[in-house]
């Protein structure tokens, strides 16, 4: 708890709070997190990120005590809207932080339009259309979307690794479409070629035949799998003696896979991937954040280091806290001042600076990393390249970007230039 970040933040809090009186009534903040069903572990780490941020600011912002109300979802949009409705309409929260998964995010964006008096700050949901198509005025997203999380990877594997042709294997749903979207636009623009895109149903457990069907005339294979599907793939890939070059999507190398029990994950060592964070980044701000996370929770109640879910909720919470401090906890007049602050905020996050665009979508830093084995035998991601100022159109002209279309099984086409 003695991190530098903490000090800076609390000093800022003191300065900001100086003008207002501390006796203001507590501020109710709602949290939407996946705490039911298969993805419970992920939601729990998100909440840990949020609690880390709150602990750093002593549960206070703008002179007001923060009162947390948690709403549990099961990663389905139905449950997310229901939980949000309870937080807003029953518990009367003024700020909602969350949710976690892509389709939940879209549903909450739609819901936020019916509740203009409440501010919604996205947790970590990463669907592109949440802020790209029909954005909502009171929905802010301080994390990048799935396509942005691919930024830098295409360049890196083409130029540094020297892969000219790749094939992709991905779970058949929107998040992976979006990730492949980001990869393909960059990789193809650099001159690479994507020969084949295989889509496997979400929840595929036996990849035996899919592994045999992987093309053997490409330089590398991109894997857009997550959780149990990823673990199963890697396990069976080893059993089949696979030796192709692999590239990982963001959730292929996240904490759930890297901390899975057994040796399946070893197939990932040396695999390049990209995402909004690199576990072993030596940047002091990142290091102090990791330490704060580790200090807030005992080792058996957390991951070895914060997952990107924790970081997402952490950043969202910090954005809210710093703007509460700046406005002195003033949420009057339809939270006008608070929202103006959020829109103009440049968040000095542990994973790089984050600012918002006109759709209240993050423009941030993306990390290309490779999986390494640490001294204690655990796996982590090691930074190899940083891409800053990644915006939602991936550096492509907005008009040209719009012409590519929304991510799907076949979109985008592999082209050297998108115009």
């Amino acid at each position: 708890m003695n991190s530098k970040l903490l000090t800076t933040l609390s000093v800022a809090a003191l300065v900001a709070a100086g003008s207002t009186v501390v006796s203001a009534e507590p501020l109710k903040v709602g949290v939407l997190a996946t705490l039911e069903g298969t993805y419970t572990v992920l939601g729990e780490d998100g909440v840990r990120g949020l609690k880390t941020a709150l602990a750093q600011s002593d549960n206070k912002a703008g002179g007001r005590e923060i009162e947390l109300v948690i709403g549990a979802t099961d990663a389905s949009p139905d449950s997310a809207v229901r939980a949000a409705r309870k937080l807003v309409e029953q518990d009367g929260v003024e700020i909602v932080i969350g949710p976690l998964s892509g389709s939940e995010g879209i549903a909450i964006r739609d819901y936020s339009k019916t509740q203009p008096q409440v501010t919604f700050i996205n947790g970590i949901s990463g669907a592109q259309e949440t802020t790209y198509v029909t954005p909502s005025d009171n929905f802010f997203r301080f994390n990048m979307d799935g396509a942005q999380w691919s930024a830098g990877l295409g360049d890196y594997i083409f130029n540094e690794k020297g892969y000219k042709t790749i094939a992709t294997v991905g779970e058949d749903y929107s998040f992976v479409y979006t990730q492949v979207f980001g990869l393909v636009t960059e990789f193809c623009a650099a001159g690479g070629e994507v020969t084949e895109r295989l889509w496997v149903p979400l929840g595929t457990k036996d990849f035996g035949s899919i592994i045999a069907a992987l093309p053997d005339d490409v330089d590398a294979i991109y894997l857009g799998l997550g959780g149990g599907d990823a673990v199963n793939f890697l396990n069976q890939y080893q059993q089949a003696g696979g030796d192709a070059n692999l590239i990982g999507g963001t959730i292929m190398v996240d904490g759930t896979v890297l901390s899975s029990k057994g040796s399946a994950k070893d197939a990932l060592i040396g695999v390049p991937s990209s995402g909004p964070q690199a576990d072993t980044w030596d940047d002091p701000k990142w290091q102090s954040y990791v330490k704060a996370y580790q200090d807030t929770f005992p080792p058996d109640q957390r991951f070895p280091s914060p997952s990107l879910l924790a970081t997402g909720y952490y950043n969202a919470t910090n954005a809210a806290l710093s703007c509460l401090n700046e406005t002195g906890g003033d949420l009057s007049d339809g939270q006008k001042a608070f929202r103006a602050c959020l829109a103009g905020l440049e968040l000095d996050a542990p994973n790089g600076k984050i600012a918002l665009d006109g759709n209240r979508q993050a423009i941030g830093t993306n990390f290309v990393s490779e999986v390494v084995e640490l001294d204690d035998g655990t796996l982590a991601t090691k930074l190899v390249s940083i891409k800053e100022n990644v915006n939602q159109t991936l550096g492509i002209e907005p008009a040209a970007f719009a012409k590519i279309g929304l991510p799907s099984r076949e979109t985008p086409e592999c082209k050297t230039a998108y115009e």
Binding site: P201, A213, K261
Partner: protein, 337 residues
């Protein structure tokens, strides 16, 4: 066999031709036009063998389910939970002792013991009340799923294979010819899958022998045919019931170890394998061990061929098979009307 041929000459011909085509597909080097038509031989052979090995796993899970149902008319919708528990136990035993093989008896024993408890505490009390059993076991599976999530977390567990089992082995099946040298390319196949398949065939044959060649087996089979007859044999019946339940549950535990070895163990796998068992026994015929084998093989093959030849609807394919069977043979392929 000859009687079948005499009764159904057309069917016999169709089956013989299909078998011949299959054998040719397996052993001949594929000509160009065939590769152009349905893809590489390697893919086909892998799908075929993977389908068979996956079928082996499904058979292990479903045979316990079908045995329990066949003898006692007990519907145990917590069967998937037994599978999952077996997987977790197997992981920890293998991890602590360092012996993969030890995971099997350990999982079998613990889960079988749980089976005894289930039979004595739950099923004996509500014999003949199908619906109540179903509901109670659904309740048990909900509770068990959360207890296991509590105990083992949401992590993915992968039971490590010993080094002598890891990696692929070269087989004598030819997948193609090297264009440059003209050498034959042989199929490489994961060793662990071969071993696991051999084990499930072994267990299947063992079960068959047990049922058909031993006194206890006769008693069980008689019970499957006519439970009224069995109750006439007196008090021993309850003991037989407990034994069979324990055995069926133990098999699910063993299957959990197998599944944890070549797939992985995590929350949600219980429902997946419950569904798989249901479909296998509906297709094969409730209460029939050969039916479970046939159903498991069909579902395994459908999943694997589906996953490479039409991945989008591969998951739905197994259900279509089930619907087709229900429509034309509601009692299942090997079930008695």
């Amino acid at each position: 066999m000859r009687a079948f041929a005499a009764r159904h000459p057309w069917w016999t011909a169709v089956i013989a031709i299909a078998a011949a085509v299959l054998l040719m597909l397996i052993f001949l080097v594929w000509p160009q036009w065939l590769v152009a038509g349905i893809g590489r031989k390697k893919v086909f052979l892998n799908a075929l063998f993977n389908g068979i090995t996956l079928g082996g796993l499904y058979f292990l899970v479903a045979s316990g389910f079908t045995l329990i149902f066949g003898l006692m008319r007990n519907v145990n919708l917590a069967h998937g939970s037994l599978y999952l528990l077996g997987g977790y136990i197997g992981f920890f035993v293998a991890e602590w002792t360092g012996f993969w093989l030890l995971a099997f008896p350990a999982a079998f024993l613990v889960v079988a013991l749980l089976g005894v408890v289930l039979q004595v505490v739950v099923f004996q009390r509500m014999e003949g009340q199908d619906l109540r059993q179903t509901l109670v076991t659904i309740g048990i599976s909900i509770v068990a799923a959360d207890l296991m999530l509590w105990a083992f977390g949401g992590d993915f567990y992968n039971i490590g294979t010993p080094s002598w089992l890891s990696g692929p082995m070269e087989t004598f099946f030819v997948t193609g010819v090297k264009r440059s040298s003209g050498d034959l390319i042989f199929l490489k196949y994961p060793l662990v899958r071969i071993v696991i398949f051999a084990a499930s065939v072994g267990i299947g044959v063992g079960m068959w022998l047990l049922l058909n060649r031993t006194r206890i087996g006769m008693l069980v089979r008689a019970g499957v045919d006519d439970s009224a007859m069995l109750s006439a044999t007196g008090a021993r019946i309850n003991l037989v019931f407990v034994g069979v339940f324990a055995f069926g549950a133990g098999l699910a535990g063993v299957a959990g170890v197998v599944g944890g070895t070549f797939q992985s163990i995590a929350p949600g796998e219980d429902i997946r394998f419950l569904l798989a068992s249901l479909i296998v026994v509906i297709v094969g015929g409730m209460g029939s061990i050969p039916g479970a084998a046939l159903g498991a093989l069909m579902i395994g093959l459908a999943e694997q061929f589906g996953s490479v030849y039409f991945p989008t609807y591969a998951v739905v394919l197994t259900f279509l098979i089930m619907v087709a069977v229900l429509a034309f043979r509601p009692q299942g392929l090997m079930g008695r009307a």
